[in-house]
């Protein structure tokens, strides 16, 4: 009668992973004034909203960890969220074999190691999906804020331009964001 042998293998790991996600967009701004002036107006508006200027960029990190970076020269916006996760995985496998050989043990060990790596990948991906979901929730309010920034900067630029054309008699702005500037030339 043939015998069957039970062999077993175990693999475990502890990993520290960083998962992140992000998107890029651009502020829609009319070039009412030369680029340098538009750049300064943009920097000023962003500073009012908690951004810190670092050379040609302005950066803000919100309480939820979302990092927003704006390039003052071209209006490119980069939004990023990263998170760290500690992943602990342990996988045990056993198998019945006809002969208890080193080869059989090595194969089982390799299979166990692959299963462990697969679980690590799955948990990393799950962590990444959580980061993506958090970032997506943030984007709606962020888009609205960026639209306001574009509008404010354009409005300020128009006021500066109007001053260059003549004496400003009156400026009216309504709740919808439209602005009328009367200039005496």
């Amino acid at each position: 009668m043939s015998r069957a042998y039970r062999i077993s293998a175990s693999e475990s790991t502890q990993r520290h992973v960083v998962v992140e996600d992000g998107v890029c967009t651009a502020l829609e701004m009319l070039e009412v004034l030369p680029q340098e002036s538009m750049c300064e107006l943009l920097a000023a508006e962003l500073e009012k909203r908690g951004f810190k200027r670092e050379g040609d960029t302005a950066k803000r990190v919100d309480k939820d960890g979302v990092e927003i970076t704006v390039n003052l020269k071209d209006g490119a916006v980069n939004v990023r969220l990263a998170a760290e996760r500690k992943i602990d995985v342990k996988v045990d496998r056993s198998a019945l074999v006809a002969e208890e050989t080193q080869d059989a043990q090595a194969r089982l060990q390799e299979e166990t190691r692959r299963a462990m790596e697969k679980q690590v990948d799955q948990r990393t991906e799950k962590a990444r999906q959580e980061v993506t979901a958090r970032l997506e929730k943030k984007l709606k309010e962020l888009q609205s804020e960026l639209d306001q920034v574009s509008n404010r900067v354009t409005a300020e630029a128009l006021k500066v331009k109007a001053k260059q054309l003549g004496d400003i008699e009156e400026i009216t702005e309504d709740a919808n964001g439209s602005m009328t500037i009367k200039v005496r030339t």
Binding site: D21, G22, V23, T25, V79, L135, E136, L139, K140, Q143
Partner: protein, 364 residues
């Protein structure tokens, strides 16, 4: 009079007939699906029949696909300034002489490849030399047949189909296939197709090309993988950039008419941006989805150049040389018009924005 040919030759002739529209795509689907060992050469009867099928069939095919239409186009030849005068009529009325169509061995190799390779699992490579104008048409019709019979996936692995500029113009997403973009091939040089004489082919295929690009755009809603969408977008951008530049250089902006026609079909009214991105996998990273969404707007982005041309045509004065041509193009593109350009921009704004409104709606 009946002719006798071998079974393998009959298969070759049937595929050739299907390419030129003398038999249905359904009739050749079993031939394309099966694999077959072909003898190295055809007999004289079959060769003569193949010559006749291709020479008459391609001409008839071009006539049927659009050459029969009574249209107005920019003149191919006008002394030193092509593209200034307007000519009207059917294809053979607009062109005093049409270019001779001489098929090379490349066309025969293409048809043989389609017959002997089981196109459901296209492992066999197709290798050809330089293409003539007639070969360009044959390769275009070959790609068309493969797409209509459901074997579009066989196009990219064939490699040699990528030598045809006309095939790139009609089937860019199939030619690129699933492969990641490297630099795009030299075959995307459209100037030879826009030369006087050769441009008659593009005139005949305007309707075809409009239908193809419409289908391509609508097909984007079924694209699942973000990387694939980026690939399609990059290929479309490269093809349209090269083609529109060639049209401009050759003074044949009228031959870009199919782009506007396709845009008019895709955007008959306001269309949500989700039409392009609905199928993208929702679990992929936001970065990948954002890049895919931007890439999906490649065709619409190319309309900006046509819009700029349209603005230029509007400012062409009646005493300018190109006034007649400008008026022709304005009239032809009027169907799309300012409202159309605005609709395209609205979709692009949405595709470029931070938010994926489709995903947001799904998660709500």
């Amino acid at each position: 009079m009946r002719a006798r040919v071998a079974a393998s030759e009959h298969a070759i002739l049937t595929v050739a007939r299907a390419m030129v529209g003398e038999t249905t795509a359904e009739a050749v689907e079993p031939i394309l699906r099966a694999s077959r060992d072909l003898p190295p050469a055809m007999g004289p009867t079959a060769s003569a029949l193949l010559r006749e099928t291709l020479s008459r069939g391609v001409v008839l095919c071009l006539a049927r696909r659009g050459g029969w239409r009574n249209e107005r186009h920019l003149a191919a030849r006008d002394g030193d300034a092509p593209g200034k005068k307007v000519v009207e009529g059917r294809l053979w009325e607009r062109h005093a002489t049409l270019p001779p169509l001489a098929f090379s061995e490349a066309t025969v190799l293409l048809i043989r490849w389609m017959v002997e390779t089981p196109l459901g699992i296209p492992e066999k490579l197709l290798s050809v030399g330089k293409l003539t104008l007639a070969d360009e048409v044959a390769f275009y019709l070959g790609c068309d047949l493969l797409v209509r019979t459901g074997f579009g996936r066989a196009i990219a692995p064939a490699a040699a189909l990528g030598k045809s500029s006309l095939a790139w113009l009609g089937f860019p997403e199939e030619l690129r296939g699933e492969k990641r973009a490297g630099s795009l091939p030299a075959a995307m040089r459209f100037a030879p197709l826009l030369a006087p004489g050769a441009s008659a082919i593009l005139e005949a295929l305007q309707s075809d090309l409009a239908a193809r690009w419409t289908e391509m755009e609508r097909g984007k809603r079924s694209v699942v993988q973000c990387a694939r969408m980026e690939e399609i977008g990059a290929t479309q951008s490269a093809v349209l950039d090269a083609f529109l530049s060639a049209c401009d250089a050759a003074g044949r902006r009228d031959l870009a008419g199919f782009v506007v026609e396709a845009a008019a079909r895709i955007l008959p009214g306001p269309v949500p941006a989700a039409m392009w991105t609905r199928g993208l996998e929702k679990t992929s990273a936001l970065r990948e989805r954002a890049a895919a969404r931007r890439a999906s707007g490649a065709f619409l982005r190319s309309l900006a150049r046509l819009r700029a041309w349209s603005e230029e045509h509007r400012t062409t004065a009646f005493f300018d040389d190109g006034y007649e041509a400008a008026q022709l193009l304005l009239a032809r593109w009027e169907r799309f018009g300012d409202a159309g350009w605005a609709r395209a921009e609205a979709v692009l704004r949405d595709l470029d924005s931070l938010q994926d409104r489709e995903a947001e709606g799904a998660n709500a």
